[in-house]
Symmetry: C2
Subunit: 377 residues, 2 copies
Amino acid sequence: MSTPTPEGVRLTAEQRRSWLRLIRSENVGPQTFRSLINHYGSASAALEALPDLSRRGGARRNIRIASEDEVDRELAAAERAGARFIGMGEPDYPPWLRHADQPPPLLCMRGASEVLARPAIAIVGARNASLAGQRMAQRLASGLGEAGFSIVSGLARGIDQSAHQAALATGTVAVFAGGVDVVYPEEHRPLLDKILAQQGAAISEMAMGWQPRARDFPRRNRIIAGMSLATVVVEAAERSGSLITARLALEQNREVMAVPGSPLDPRAAGTNRLLKQGAHLITDAADVIGALPQTLAPPTREGFELPSEEPEKQPLVEPASDDRSLILEALGPTPVHVDELIAHTKLSARLVAVILLELELAGRLERHPGGRISLVY
Amino acid sequence: MSTPTPEGVRLTAEQRRSWLRLIRSENVGPQTFRSLINHYGSASAALEALPDLSRRGGARRNIRIASEDEVDRELAAAERAGARFIGMGEPDYPPWLRHADQPPPLLCMRGASEVLARPAIAIVGARNASLAGQRMAQRLASGLGEAGFSIVSGLARGIDQSAHQAALATGTVAVFAGGVDVVYPEEHRPLLDKILAQQGAAISEMAMGWQPRARDFPRRNRIIAGMSLATVVVEAAERSGSLITARLALEQNREVMAVPGSPLDPRAAGTNRLLKQGAHLITDAADVIGALPQTLAPPTREGFELPSEEPEKQPLVEPASDDRSLILEALGPTPVHVDELIAHTKLSARLVAVILLELELAGRLERHPGGRISLVY
């Protein structure tokens, strides 16, 4: 049984296990997770349906479902690391992240959850930052920290490091691209210890022990941007990860801000480009605060609410194979919006959602920001 | 007799003498000059009317009118320096300057007038510029020069110097705060010689031999901004002269552009502030060109056209002293628009213009940008 609270609904231990098992299963991303819960009412019911859904979506082999053992091992690893899991909709879940694009259903967290409840500003930038860039990051982080904001960043060298360091006393959140027990870079272990010792937190959507790969960083960056009211880029070269974070912030309707720099410094090429594209020009913490939206309350957006108790399983219409063909023909490698697909096929939204779920679980569908989808070839 | 040409009307030698004598007379600024020509049809007629107008405006002593000797001496000095005078409305007059606020009736010019006919970009900035700032000025100036623009600046140290230097081959214009024979700073004499040797020009509205005072620089800056399609500020501290040039450009509806810099560099404080206020962010010459207005033709604006021959003197209504009192009561130290004054006093525009002319010649009226006026106490 889950316990409703004013700010959300707490998962029972059993629900949390099922959520963890579901999100760790093959081809289940945040969006699929949400669709599954919406259609099946609970993670446990969804887990039962996975093999059949995946087979109907055209999977050539059985879908890999996380085992109970795997879940036990991850829960044990989390306990050893002093980490715990927070489900979307639970009171501790970062409020802005809940309203972001594809929020992680479960966050693994080390440290104090209080820091996650405060309005957050992301400060990101170059790993090979200049001394001036590092000083700027420190000034912004300490000024914003003193103004009551938590500072979110990625624990990387350079700007991230400076931002965390300057916000230790006021509260800072490090978002990991791997498991929360995998400190990257290794040399930042003492910094992480300080963050955790001073009421800060480290969070990740990835499994305990997960070693981050290159593609995990943009995925992580969406969390940095999504949990923050604004993303401030301090120094960034062209084609750098910080620009991805800025783009992801923009796509989630969050403010993008950048610190200007000399056009002769390659580390200012990315920030100057952001400014040309309309990012707020920031030279101090007051600028950041002045450019924030009027209200600091998270935006409301339709999404699933956690059920206060396990609901009845909803009867799920099994799509006819003609309908599946219709969808497959309409889709291709170019991302299209789900609404376009519904309009084009004239199928019900519910039926389309089920077919997409099947395709996704079969590893044949890719989700893009803004509700767009494409086929995987 | 003046000679009409497709682009304007050439002054006769005699007209030019009268113009020079009128503009060098006491209390005759560009705006008064324009009003006088509009009311009296010619500079020579205006010169005759000056003593009477000034007395009616309440002057406590006779207005100082430039003598024929003075004019002879200035013409001789100009000839020795290889300079000549260009009247507003003449074909050589910088086309954008003619449509600026309070264009100088006469410009004294050394060098080649062809460079004045081309669309111009002003590049201005700090005298104590950083090496990076100087490199930026050079890049912008050479890029814009190659694209066909003339580069306008103030021959100062730092940014001005770099801009002129990089535009030597393509054509650059130095605008002086003193007479065109007074090189400031003295160490830039070789630079000036190169500018003049390579089809560039030096111009000034001030008399030959005039030593620039502090207040002459903002006055000069209005010419830099007014003759250019855009003013690009490369490095500028807070409260620097370059920001005055930028403000004057804005007041004349010209584009204002600024190069970003690190917030930790005081020489970027002014440029970053301009950017926050909406100036175009510029990192290369292509940015400048991209931010220019669609058409490079000078804007049209009502103004006096030079008469093709000496017209009849227009009968000038002498205002009643009651009308003068009405105007004096309505005016104060706070600048108000002439149109407000006309609306308030319900006097005719022509009558108000004559009274303002009297007050100005008596040294009792100050003109401000945008057609506003205030009393001098």
